[in-house]
Amino acid sequence: MASEGAGTAQDLVRSFESLAADFSTEIAGLRTEPEIRLAQTRYLGKKGRATDLMKQLGRIPPGDRPAVGAAANRARESIEKLVEERLAGLAEALLAGELARSVDVTLPGRGRRAGTIHPLSRVRMEIEQIFLGMGYEVRTGPLIETEWNNFDALNTGADHPARDMQDTFFVEGGLILRSHTSPVQIRTMLAGPPPVKIIAPGNVFRRDDDATHTPMFPQCEGLHVDKNVSFEDLKATLIAFVQRFFGPQTDIRLRPSFFPFTEPSAEVDASCFLCQGKQPARATCRLCKGTGWLEIGGSGMVHPNVLAAVGYDKYDVTGFAFGMGLSRMAMLKYGVTDLRLFYENDLRFLQQFPAG
């Protein structure tokens, strides 16, 4: 720089001009922001080349100084502009690089998949939800029951032919495995006065084991006892239930039947939700086998002997009860054709029932 010491104003102006040109050359080879900033400091910083040149200004006649000052400003502006453009270019290139990245979106997500809820639980929860919405409480009871709760209190005496309808498991201590969820009715009514409006889901046991029977299976029972509960209320309740469970077009059909603990009694059929009971779909419907109806359970008006057994005033209150097999409901709802699948616990079956 000392060589420029004796320069004239013109020399100085040229020096400033070459300063900008030098910087332009230098910056072209730089690739990162810190390098560029460092170069900028070398030219424009406190100890930079521009400062060195400015120190020679004192030797310039005052009349020439404005021309040199202008040249200095041009050089500074030119350098600063170069820096700005270069940095913007770098940022753009970075962003372009960032945006050029891509993934194979068809590869599976990482981590363990959420588990599943068993179809029998799922269908029970759904039924509970429907009845909770209709003002029913959920009640449960023990698997091991007394014969009184399971039979006698339900108007099914020791010699009642109805005891033939279900073969019971006996355990030690004179107790049995409940053969239906109806003892929960008895326990609930013994526990408090009417009104009672409950459903009772749970596993029950019968000595049957073949393609269409399992020794343990889940049922859900309903009971509504109050003043002026009638057969028409039963119908209305069952219709409301099947329409929520199977769909709003569903109808029911009641057929007279016999259960020791209800009188009058009725079998409950729901119209087939697959073919809607309408021809020509009905004729070939695999679900209802062409009948247009699906058997879903039993029902009836609580027998006065049952009300009497739990100490309710049979002249004051009436009630209805209904019951259904949850395996059957799950088979219908999910198109399961083999009952045994529910108990084989093969994950390839179970994993078709996501939680949620």
């Binding site: 929860m125 959920v138 449960t140 006996f170």
Partner: protein, 801 residues
């Protein structure tokens, strides 16, 4: 029960448009569910009744003959090989060319040893009537030549399978079903015609003495003399077969026929093999008898017997005895028609394990007032079929006639139970159709119930009768499903919460039987050393040894499910079950204790992404358990080793305790010895939690706003004794009670013997320090960290690294 539509049509007039489908729909709608309709005899066509005109030998074969037959105007020579071709004038079954037989065979004219035969004469087998026959079928002389055989013998029929509920003994017969149809279609039943047979006075007589009137309210005996036993006519045998009964002989078939027709069991004794008089009494201790199936039966004093001077001749209402059985040699018959007490019959039939058509009906109740007709009808039929005579005079002992049953029905009750404002005339109309008598009484009726309807005893029974004739099917007239319950509890809520949490943690729910094998309980209880697990409540009548004791833990079921999945090639199995286990009550209380448990089983590898994952270990299991506990609001459960359960690996297991120390369950790797006993050849991790414990521990959820000032972290790394657990170190750090310490956790736990001094492990902890009201300075954090580390050093010998 099988019901023939042809038979029904004889007993009730049905409108012409009523076919099998409609009749079945009517019955089903009324509560007698027709589960199936089986068309019969449709495969047989064109076989006609033919009169034998003459028989001559076949020129080419000794065993064949040429039979000249006539059917209508047609006469032909038919070649026949049967040994029993009857003489001229008899009726046989001729399948001319074009006739079809069951199995799809169509007849044509064919040469038989040089003689052209237009079709053939048929046996019962060929026509599908029975499975055994000797020679061709010979029809009664009344059959008109040229008529269709299938029609003449009643082979074309529809058989209903009717599901009769146990309260309806009246419907266990064709007459009973006919009554239902008559009520439905508004027509009347026609009692079957009693055959006109010769009657004689005297000759046979035997007195009857009922010792046990409780067990036998009515006993009648009729006598049929001079008959001969032989096969019954084909139409009767066919009908019996259609209804599921085997033809035996004309006498026995007649009793069975009338049983199916009227619902009254009847029994025919060989009169000449009885001695003295008939006495109806209970069995004596040690008495034995041989029933007509050839089995010797031991009797007990509650069994009701029919006896003669020599001893038992029948087990009342269940099965006749071998000694008095009707045989080919029988010439005189005593026909019993009686009623017995249902309870007594039920017990004996059950104990002896010989349910019969008779006992089935007696158990449900046979109408004593129906006996005279059934007895007369059967006796006449026997006399007719056997060519005998009816002896005038019947012995009828009737010590306990049933009381006339009347049931009051108030209109208020009818309306209250049905929910519909019926008027009284509607009720009368419905009940009258069903054969009930109605008299006004109070605001309703006094209804006289026919004696064949023992199921009707209270007003509700009458209400069902009124409603079941068409009212069940009408749409509901009001909508009354609104809530009137005040509190909606769901006791399954906690169990379902566990299910959702476990599913969220990646496990799949299974459902297994509540009963398991004794071997499985032995395997998980250290061969019964742990009595709680090993001594389950046993079933007295299990289906098999696989299901003989109530599960005391969910482990056997989960192990079984894991085994099955592994054997089917599903290696990555994360399974759970939530459900009750049954354990003996402490203190010998007879009622067992049932508690919901939530258990899970993990086997396989950790989820490796696009590469195989690492094998699972204890901490994968612990994460699941922690997720469930957190879901129940338990953030600070304690994990205490060693585990207490005999089925877990002693070094890789823990008890789970609530912060207050209550047992919540266990977790750990399954003991390899137990795995072997359970048949699983892969490592597996297991936990079991008590749902009630989780629900009970659930605290109400409290939260804090996120901190406003930044935190500073400091690490400390040291050697410490291998046996000093992380929880103990943590407790020591916390004993400093340093107010600035807001979080701490282990970053590393390394035990590589190449680098770690013997008996030691290297642990790296990271602490987070924060003040609630300012940004901490480095110096403040350093001071706090020093105090915290000093607390650990005071508690355990450590070497800072």
């Amino acid at each position: 029960m099988k019901i023939s539509l042809n038979w029904l049509r004889e007993l009730v007039e049905l409108p012409p448009e009523v076919d099998a489908e409609r009749a079945a729909a009517a019955l089903t709608g009324q509560g007698l569910e027709v589960e199936g309709i089986e068309p019969k005899g449709r495969e047989l066509s064109g076989v006609v009744v033919a009169e034998v005109l003459g028989i001559r030998p076949h020129p080419g074969a000794d065993k064949l003959r040429i039979v000249r037959v006539r059917a209508g105007k047609r006469e032909e020579d038919v070649v026949c090989g049967a040994p029993n071709v009857p003489p001229s004038g008899n009726r046989v079954c001729w399948a001319p060319p074009g006739a079809r037989l069951p199995g799809g065979r169509t007849l044509d004219a064919r040469e038989v040893r040089g003689v052209l035969s237009p079709g053939m004469l048929c046996s019962e087998i060929e026509m599908g009537f029975s499975e055994a026959a000797e020679g061709i079928l010979i029809l009664p002389p009344a059959a008109v030549p040229g008529e269709d055989v299938a029609k003449v013998v009643g082979a074309v029929d529809d058989v209903f399978e009717v599901n009769v509920t146990p309260n309806r003994p009246d419907a266990l017969s064709h007459l009973g079903i006919a009554r239902e149809l008559a009520a439905h279609f508004g027509t009347r039943v026609r009692l079957p015609e009693v055959d006109q047979v010769p009657e004689v006075d005297g000759g046979l007589a035997m007195d009857v003495d009922i010792v046990d009137a409780q067990g036998c309210p009515r006993y009648t005996a009729r006598f049929i003399a001079g008959l001969s036993v032989g096969p019954s006519p084909i139409s009767m045998r066919l009908r019996l077969a259609y209804c599921g009964m085997r033809a035996i002989s004309n006498v026995v078939d007649a009793t069975n026929y009338v049983l199916l027709e009227t619902g009254h069991p009847l029994h025919a004794f060989d009169f000449d093999r009885l001695q003295g008089r008939i006495v109806v009494r209970r069995a004596r201790e040690g008495e034995r008898t041989t029933t007509l199936d050839g089995q010797e039966r031991g009797l007990v004093p509650e069994d009701l017997l029919i006896t003669d001077a020599r001893g038992p001749v029948a087990i009342a209402g269940i099965m006749g005895g071998a000694t008095s059985e009707v045989s080919a040699a029988t010439g005189n018959v005593l026909l019993e028609a009686a009623t017995f007490e249902p309870r007594s019959i039920r017990r004996t039939a059950k104990r002896l394990g010989i349910p019969s058509e008779a006992s089935y009906r007696y158990e449900r109740g046979v109408d004593a007032n129906g006996i005279p007709f059934a007895s007369l009808r059967a006796a006449s039929l026997i006399a007719k079929l056997g060519g005998g005579s009816l002896v005038r005079g019947t012995v009828d002992r009737f010590p306990r006639p049933p009381a006339k049953v009347t049931v009051p029905l108030s209109l208020t009750k009818l309306r209250r139970v049905s929910g519909v404002d019926y008027d009284i005339t509607f009720a009368i109309q419905q009940l009258t159709r069903l054969g009930m008598g109605c008299k006004p009484q109070g605001d309703g009726l006094l209804v006289t119930v026919p004696s064949y309807r023992p199921d009707i005893t209270i007003a509700e029974d009458l209400i069902e009768e009124i409603l079941r004739m068409g009212e069940y099917g009408k749409p509901a007239r009001k909508d009354r499903i609104a809530s009137n319950a005040t509190e909606l509890a769901n006791p399954e809520g906690s169990a379902d919460r566990a299910r959702r949490l476990l599913a969220g943690a990646g496990l799949s729910e299974i459902v297994t039987w509540a009963f398991v094998s004794k071997a499985a309980l032995a395997a998980i209880s250290g061969d019964g050393k742990d009595a709680t697990l090993g001594q389950g409540i046993t079933l007295r009548n299990p289906i098999s040894a696989d299901y003989e004791v109530m599960r005391t833990s969910l482990l056997p079921g989960l192990a079984d499910a894991l085994k099955r999945n592994l054997s089917r090639g599903v290696a990555d199995a994360w399974l759970f079950e939530v459900g009750p286990v049954v354990r003996r009550a402490p203190g010998g209380d007879a009622t067992p204790v049932e508690n919901n448990h939530a258990a899970g089983m993990l086997a396989g590898r950790r989820g490796g992404w696009l590469k195989p994952g690492e094998p699972l270990d204890f901490y994968d299991l612990k994460r699941v358990v922690e997720d469930v506990l957190r879901g129940f609001g338990i953030a600070d459960a304690r994990f205490v080793s060693p585990g207490a359960e005999p089925f877990l690996h002693p070094g890789v297991s823990a008890q789970v305790l609530s912060p207050s120390g209550a047992a919540l369950g266990c977790l750990g790797e399954l003991d390899p010895r137990v795995l072997r006993k359970l048949g699983i050849d892969s490592a597996a991790f297991y936990f079991e939690l008590q749902v009630a414990g989780l629900a009970w521990a659930t605290a109400s959820l409290r939260t804090a706003a996120p901190p406003r000032f930044p935190a500073v972290s400091r690490d400390v790394s040291f050697w410490i004794d291998l046996a000093t657990q992380a929880a103990a170190q943590r407790a020591a750090f916390l004993s400093a009670a340093e107010p600035l310490l807001c979080d701490l956790g282990v970053l590393e736990d390394f035990r590589d013997p190449k680098y770690v001094p013997a008996g030691k492990k290297g642990v790296l902890w990271s602490m987070t320090y924060r003040a609630a009201d300012r940004t901490l300075t480095d110096a403040e954090a350093d001071d706090a960290h020093q105090r915290v580390v000093a607390a650990l050093a005071a508690a355990f010998p450590i070497q800072i690294r």
